[in-house]
């Protein structure tokens, strides 16, 4: 009452301070003074939404976000948005504005505060549906109370200054009674006082001011399927906030839980979620006895206060079992126990028959049948067996029924057994007259034992069922995590997630991963409705980290539900799950399982992405290392000859030696070094062409003898002085080759042999036909290749390190030969000769290679090859 006006006035002050203020949504209700105030601001036009023939006007969130004012004014925080808006509730819009860094002034009535909701309902008798979570208010930097004395308010109401919708006049009259207003006023003042106190303490703590802090209070709220649970949670929250304590909402999954109707289990899940929304830690514990489990947990967690609801079991059960509450109180010791009760909630619960488990009659029929069978068998042996054994027969029947069909049918079986026994077999037969007091004892014992056994047996059965369903849950989770752990490929991870969700829940899914700035679908199982709108929802989820879409408060009109794939570090993607149109809704367990799947998927995706990043880093580092090594090697190999040449030339020019022999020596050296330089540049050029893949083979039938001659001739003087023995098998077929390139390959091999063998030792070149290929071997009597290095001699920049070797090579020659022979579809290999020395050999196919494989098919036989003419089989 007057809060909109107050907000606008505060905003005017802000605008006067120079802040950019925007009216995002203000309801003036046609009041002149309010409208006059609004006129001072820029107003964002409302967004019209057609809904069931009516046009509703909502805040245009996207425009406000786009305008990005310093301060936005949003009236009526508790408002529920029209269907079609992004968020179900206006406070969610406000949260998004705050996240975007826009300050917001907003208004709220006290009865709309979530944790005060039921208190207000109790006082006024009116339940307000539109509530705002308390955290929203707690996040507020400042809360101002707009307060009027009740009488004045009622007067304003009568003067027509308070907006009242026409259709609500009667309700309003009932609501605006002085008693109600006073109560509401008190609630509001108390709430605000609490807030102020809270802020004060936060301030004192932040400034390290010592004070009488309550020492580590912890509130435990115990819930079950009772509708009272929600109220318990709200009360717990108020208590926790009042104490500034941490609070926990606990549910103990007793065996009974498995037998609860679907609606009841759903309610438990909802209550736990409510607790989470209100800021509690929520815990679900399996256990047989709720009270013991609660006390054990409370002690372990150092809980100081326990909140429970009164037991809702009928009085006689409580008499037999003792209520959970009583047992908690007995065992609590120094822990305070608060018991909450509410009659109205109970009524509401029993007025909802849909929440009851539907009664199945078949088990009862079967149970009665088993008892009938026992009667028949009893009739056969009646008079033969002792009475006591007949009793056993009926007990057996009750146990079988209990194990097979549960407690209800077992109870029925126990009662009918008693009746049948008394009627058929208790003397006198076929009457209910129990003549003998002894039989009365037998009959009563039969009933009691039957009931107890029945209860125990059915409990065993329920526990087994619960274990089975937990087992199934664990198995599904285990299957997924096992498969996710085994894969390192992002697509395989996504496939596994899609497949498992499909198999477990029968839903189609889509997974979105960010790529650069956009979110893109990486996996969609058949049937997933992937449209532009759906992608926009997924995108929103990715940016905000909250679930959205079908079944949530944000864009509930979407066809699927979207959940962020969140790890502790970041949001790695979005999972979309399409609800099943025909099949059942997910049970709370299934929802929990889906949550577990989601977090498993998020972790797996993050792991794969991190691995990939690490690997990329490794590759980059390795490439960089190789490039540095290569550059160092080349620059060394280029500079050494240049240094010799420059040295020789400057000496000759500046300080010409008198001795002719010295001059010759210098010039000879410079010339050799120039040749070396030329050779190196040529090799680098060849290597570059090979690696760039630009090498085009001009294949023509080549004469092997000619080839060897050309290679030796090209070696020039180095070969002239050496003993090179050539043996060419007669009638060798022509070999398809690029003659110039293969000459170069052979030159390099020969050069290598000459370089690494003593000048007086012969080098042999042998060519022969072996199968479908011509092999050319070059054998020397040098020191051979160190055995460990045989596999490496065709590597770039590999040089054999040993004494006396002429270290002039750049380590490229054999690598080039390897490349050239490989491009021809041939093989090249190396080995040590018996008696010392090395052999490097290559083989070229006589048939021309397939054009496509010419460059790619670089096969090399390396390693410890038999030194004699092994004929290496050609792998295809």
């Amino acid at each position: 009452m007057g809060k909109t006006y107050a907000m606008l006035q505060a905003a005017r002050e802000a605008q006067a301070e120079g802040r950019r203020v925007l009216v995002a949504y203000v309801e003036t209700h046609g009041r002149v003074e309010t409208e006059a105030l609004v006129a001072g601001f820029r107003v964002i036009p409302r967004w019209p939404i057609a809904y069931r023939g009516v046009t509703l006007e909502e805040m245009d969130l996207d425009t406000v976000l786009a305008e990005h004012p310093d301060l936005a004014l949003v009236d009526e925080l508790a408002h529920t948005n029209a269907p079609g808006c992004r968020h179900a509730r206006r406070y969610q819009d406000v949260e998004e504005l705050l996240e975007a860094g826009i300050d917001v002034y907003t208004t709220l009535n006290v009865q709309h505060i979530e944790s005060l909701n039921d208190v207000v309902a109790q006082i006024t008798g009116i339940t307000v549906r539109e509530t705002v979570p308390d955290q929203i208010l707690e996040q507020a930097d400042e809360v101002g109370l707009v307060d009027l004395p009740p009488d004045e308010l009622i007067q304003r109401l009568h003067e027509g200054k308070v907006y009242v919708p026409d259709q609500a006049h009667r309700a309003i009259d009932k609501f605006f009674r002085p008693g109600n207003l006073t109560a509401l006023r008190e609630i509001a003042l108390r709430y605000l006082a609490g807030q102020v106190d809270h802020q004060m303490r936060a301030y004192m703590e932040a400034h390290a001011i010592r004070g009488p802090w309550p020492a580590g209070e912890r509130v435990l709220v115990c819930i079950d399927a009772d509708p009272l649970a929600e109220r318990l949670v709200r009360t717990g929250r108020r208590m926790a906030t009042g104490l500034d304590a941490e609070w926990i909402v606990l549910h103990v999954e007793t065996p009974e839980y498995a037998t609860l109707p679907e609606a009841a289990r759903d309610r438990i899940a909802r209550t736990l979620r409510l607790g989470e929304e209100l800021g509690a830690r929520t815990v679900s514990l399996p256990g047989t006895k709720a009270a013991e489990e609660i006390i054990r947990y409370a002690r372990a967690q150092n809980v100081s206060k326990i909140l429970v609801g009164v037991s809702h079991h009928p009085r006689w059960i409580r008499l037999i079992h003792g209520s959970v509450v009583e047992r908690i109180i007995r065992a609590a010791g120094d822990i305070d126990v608060y018991v909450i009760s509410s009659a109205s909630d109970r009524r509401r619960a029993s007025a909802a028959p849909a929440e009851r488990a539907p009664l199945h009659y078949t088990p009862y029929v079967f149970g009665a049948g088993v008892v009938a069978l026992a009667v028949l068998v009893g009739a056969l042996v009646h008079g033969v067996w002792a009475q006591a054994n007949l009793t056993m027969l009926f007990l057996l029947a009750v146990v079988i029924v209990a194990l097979e069909w549960g407690r209800g049918p077992a109870t029925l079986a126990a009662v009918t057994s008693l009746a049948a026994f008394a009627f058929f077999f208790g003397p006198p037969s076929f009457t209910y007259t129990v003549a003998d007091a002894q039989y009365l004892v037998t009959v009563t014992a039969l009933l009691v034992v039957g009931l107890v056994i029945g209860t125990l047996a059915s409990r065993t059965r329920e526990q087994a069922q619960a274990a089975r369903s937990r087992e199934a849950y664990m198995a599904a989770l285990h299957a997924l995590s096992g498969e996710l752990a085994a894969t390192n490929d992002i697509d395989a991870v996504l496939q596994a997630v899609g497949r498992h969700i499909g198999a477990t829940f029968g839903r189609s899914v889509a997974i979105f991963l960010p790529k650069e700035d956009a979110l893109e679908p990486r996996l969609e199982t058949p049937g997933f409705p992937l449209s532009e709108n759906e992608r926009a929802v997924a995108d929103w989820v990715f940016r905000h980290g909250h679930s959205a879409g079908y079944g949530t408060d944000t864009v509930p009109a979407a066809a699927a539900r979207y959940m962020p794939l969140k790890t502790s570090q970041r949001i790695v993607g979005v999972l979309g799950v399409q609800p099943s149109s025909s099949g059942p809704r997910l049970t709370p367990e299934q929802r929990r399982l889906l949550d577990a799947f989601t977090s498993q998927a998020a972790l797996a995706i993050e792991r794969v992405q991190l691995t990939e990043e690490a690997r990329r880093g490794d590759v980059a580092r390795e490439t960089e290392r190789l490039q540095t090594a290569l550059l160092n090697s080349i620059s060394h190999d280029l500079r050494t000859p240049l240094a010799s040449i420059t040295g020789a030339l400057t000496t000759l020019a500046d300080h010409p030696p008198a001795d002719e022999a010295v001059r010759r020596e210098l010039l000879q050296n410079a010339r050799e070094q120039a040749e070396r330089l030329n050779h190196l540049v040529g090799s680098l050029l060849d290597m570059n062409r090979l690696e760039a893949g630009t090498l085009r083979l001009r294949l023509e039938p080549g004469d092997v003898e000619d080839l060897i001659g050309a290679a030796i001739a090209q070696l020039g003087e180095a070969a002239q002085q050496r003993d090179i023995r050539v043996t060419v098998e007669p009638k060798l077929p022509a070999v398809p080759m690029d003659f110039a390139l293969v000459t170069q390959a052979l030159v390099n091999v020969l050069d290598n042999a000459l370089r690494y063998s003593p000048p007086d030792a012969p080098v042999e070149v042998v060519a022969r036909l072996a199968g479908n290929e011509v092999q050319i071997r070059v054998e020397d009597r040098g020191p051979g290749v160190p055995p460990g290095d045989i596999a490496r001699i065709f590597d770039k920049f590999y040089r054999i390190q040993h004494d006396g070797a002429d270290g002039h090579g750049a380590g490229l020659g054999l690598a080039i030969s390897h490349g050239i022979i490989g491009a021809h579809g041939g093989r090249i290999w190396a080995a040590n000769r018996p008696g010392g020395g090395a052999v490097v050999a290559f083989a070229l196919p006589v048939r021309p290679p397939e054009p496509s494989s010419a460059a790619a098919d670089t096969r090399t036989d390396r390693g410890d090859r038999a030194p004699e003419w092994a004929t290496p089989g050609r792998a295809s």
Binding site: R698, D706, I708, G709, A710, A713, I724, F739, V765
Partner: protein
């Protein structure tokens, strides 16, 4: 020295190469004319009427093959191609277009002078030399007689034609195409197999070690050359 020596036109865009050639060739008694581009070179060829042209393949304004072709439209002046590694295709094209021989950079002055001598001699004596002698090998064209040392070698008509073609251009490279055209005729220009087989047979008849030939040397990827002692 002086104005009397043979005139050599050097066409190369690299100043360092021109400078080095001027120094080496002048010392050998050649008159050196320089041109830094193809067009400059073609003009100088027409104006100065050199006895030999040294032509770089990689000129900036026109490629060496085209320059050779234009020269051959009006002149029979010997042309020596300077190439670098990796220009095999251009080299062969220039030779087929009428260039006399090629050298791959870097080359020694000795090599250059030997090639120049062969080219100039060949140009000066276009008529058939009746007898060509290379080491122990004698090719007597007039009498169709081949001897290696004292031994007379019997050749088939094709082998003889092949050897004669090489001998007539002794010291010069003959491309595969040129040899095929001269011995078998224009229709056989791409029949490399024919040439390969006959060169092999010829070598086995005249070479002491066919795997290390002394007379008929292979220019890988280009052609063959009857080697003359430098």
């Amino acid at each position: 020295m002086g104005d009397t020596g043979p005139r050599v036109l050097v066409v190369d865009d690299e100043r360092a190469i021109r400078r080095f050639l001027r120094a080496s060739l002048s010392a050998q008694g050649y008159q050196v004319i320089e041109a830094a581009s193809a067009h400059e070179g073609l003009e100088a060829a027409a104006a100065a009427r050199p006895d030999l042209i040294i032509l770089d393949l990689g000129l900036p304004d026109l490629d060496g093959v085209e320059v050779t072709r234009r020269l051959r439209e009006w002149s029979k002046v010997p042309v020596l191609i300077l190439s670098v590694r990796g220009q095999d295709a251009d080299k062969i094209a220039a030779l087929d277009a009428g260039a006399d021989d090629y050298l791959t950079k870097p080359f020694s002055t000795g090599e250059l002078l030997a090639r120049m001598r062969v080219a100039v001699r060949h140009a000066a004596q276009p008529a058939d030399e009746p007898v060509v002698t290379v080491g122990d090998l004698t090719v007597d064209v007039a009498r169709r007689l081949i001897t290696v040392g004292a031994r007379e070698v019997a050749l088939t008509p094709v082998e003889y034609s092949l050897l004669r073609a090489l001998a007539v251009h002794a010291g010069r490279v003959m491309t595969h195409g040129q040899l095929l055209r001269e011995v078998w005729g224009p229709g056989y220009v791409s029949d490399g197999n024919l040439l390969r087989v006959n060169i092999s047979k010829l070598r086995h008849k005249i070479e002491a070690d066919p795997a290390r030939p002394r007379y008929i040397v292979t220019e890988p990827g280009v052609g063959y050359r009857l080697r003359v002692p430098a």
